[in-house]
Symmetry: C2
Subunit: 318 residues, 2 copies
């Protein structure tokens, strides 16, 4: 254990969904004190704890150190505050974490999308930010009941770049808990690499009417579309200074082709009538393209269609 924070660090995880619960369980296993901050279902979590069932790992059950409702004060300092919720307009992680930030609290973002760190950097310029990408298939079956289906690797780095001792300490903990970690000093490039997949497979699985990865790739026309969207994302990444290797498109397509057919997280959100991460997955890269004067007609169209879909779902939810 590092002694940068307390000997046994206290992690406050924002969101007791699939991602928060799964990685929370790993940190707990590593010996950290793991608390949760949630919007609902707190009593349930307090009473029955969290169970992770997995197709590949042993079943794991644990009780969080504390379960707080949003805004409820935390009597002990937080070493790492870990955001694992979806990034949606109108839900401000920045405001949610304010009561829990001590001087040394590190902000950890395990979330998808581009530029998600910007509001935190602006609001808390003195706080260290660790930006994390999760490569995992995991879903919440009910409050406190998580199903881990596959994978689990994290890619981590400091925002906007570099590696600090706090990052190394977090990685040490995660590895102790059994998580494969890829540490990078260029985490934004890693974000763009993941976006190549998310901006194509996630979005097209919804816009194609609810198709899985295999169905997207089975049709030659839509496979071509996946490729073109990926190429547009690479174009924007390059303009932002992140030159992804050109083979990334083929590699991601071929890698996905051999995966078990997979419903993307955006499609699961869509099917369950939950809001989709349209802005950070499609909107932000499209706006970057506009800033650079780049033409990305497919990415732009994806953004516009998903906006419509999301608004329509909101109307349907009433």
């Amino acid at each position: 254990m590092t002694d940068l924070h307390r000997a046994v660090p206290h992690m406050l995880i924002v969101g007791a969904g699939a991602i928060g619960s799964y990685y929370g369980s790993k940190l707990h296993r590593a010996g950290a004190r793991v608390s949760f901050l949630c919007r609902s279902g707190g009593d349930m979590l307090r009473e029955t704890g969290i169970t992770i069932d997995s197709l590949h790992e042993e079943r794991f059950h644990f009780h969080p150190q504390r379960v707080l409702m949003a805004g409820e004060p935390c009597p002990e300092p937080v070493d790492y505050i870990v955001l694992t919720t979806k990034v949606l307009p109108g839900i401000s992680g920045v405001d949610i974490i304010r009561p829990y930030l001590g001087e040394q609290t590190v902000i950890v973002l395990i979330q998808n999308g581009i530029d998600i760190e910007v509001p935190y950097r602006q609001a808390y310029p003195e706080h260290e930010i660790i930006s994390v990408l999760a490569f995992v298939c995991v879903s919440r079956l009910s409050p406190g009941k998580i199903l881990h289906q596959d994978y689990g690797k994290l890619a981590l780095g400091n925002y906007p770049e570099g590696k600090t001792p706090y990052l190394e300490a977090l990685v040490e903990l995660l590895r102790l808990g059994g998580v494969t970690c890829e540490v990078t000093d260029r985490v934004q490039e890693a974000r763009w690499r993941k976006l190549v997949w998310n901006a194509s497979f996630n979005t097209l699985s919804v816009l194609g009417g609810g198709v899985d990865t295999a169905q997207l790739l089975a049709d030659e026309e839509s496979c071509q579309l996946v490729r073109q969207v990926m190429e547009e994302v690479c174009l924007v990444a390059a303009a932002e200074g992140h030159r992804l290797v050109p083979s990334i498109v083929d590699e991601q397509i071929e890698h996905t082709r051999v995966m078990t057919p997979y419903k993307t997280s955006m499609l699961l959100d869509y099917e369950n009538r939950r809001p989709m991460e349209v802005e950070v997955i499609a909107g932000n890269p499209m706006r970057k393209a506009r800033l650079h004067g780049l033409s990305v007609p497919r990415l732009e169209m994806i953004y516009r269609l998903l906006r419509l879909q999301d608004a329509q779902r909101r109307r349907q939810r009433g």
Copy 2:
């Protein structure tokens, strides 16, 4: 009445859906003998006839001259055979009409899309083809029960171009029945004009998650998308030799903006889990663009996404 055919012409309408029933009723009103060829529900039509309820016109009820099931011989010659079914892959209007074609039978197509006449011209090079576009909001509530909501104009011309006496005779009948007709000797250009609307509003209403015309135009991003798709269609039309006036895009958008919010026919097909006219609305213009080496990324993406959606619906129907 013209004496080109019999004094009282015999019209065989293929498809007793909304379009076939509505214009069939007008031809009946004008004194023509109107028969129907259908795939199902023939007994019902024979017994109870067809009723047109309208928000703007008087209720109209009539009994067809004959109701034939597909393939059933027709004991009297057909002067005009009028196709009003959707144009879908795997359903060959060319084969369906073969038993009913006499030497003088005129083929009339009241259908959407581009290049729909080609298979008929190839199969029946000696037969006259009249190509028709319907501007009407009409729907079938149940077999033989039609609701006319708005509009009703037809645009007609001979394929590939020109105006023949048979066309004039048909127009005379339709006008006698109360239909506003716009006769053109450049019907293909009229098809492209209609496609400007169909390839944008119809397709995007589905891909936007089931939105009506007002919802499409209310969002500035999606309104811009409508405009760009329209511009791509105009580009292909021009390459095909049909130079549409550039103001057509603004005109169609502004005209749609003042219409009562409207669910497109493709959206109704989608919602009712019926096949959509993807190939003739999006596929054919996209293939024309490819032939001319034109880049139409939005039209291409529309085609690819609708193909996925259509295939997904087929799987869901089982």
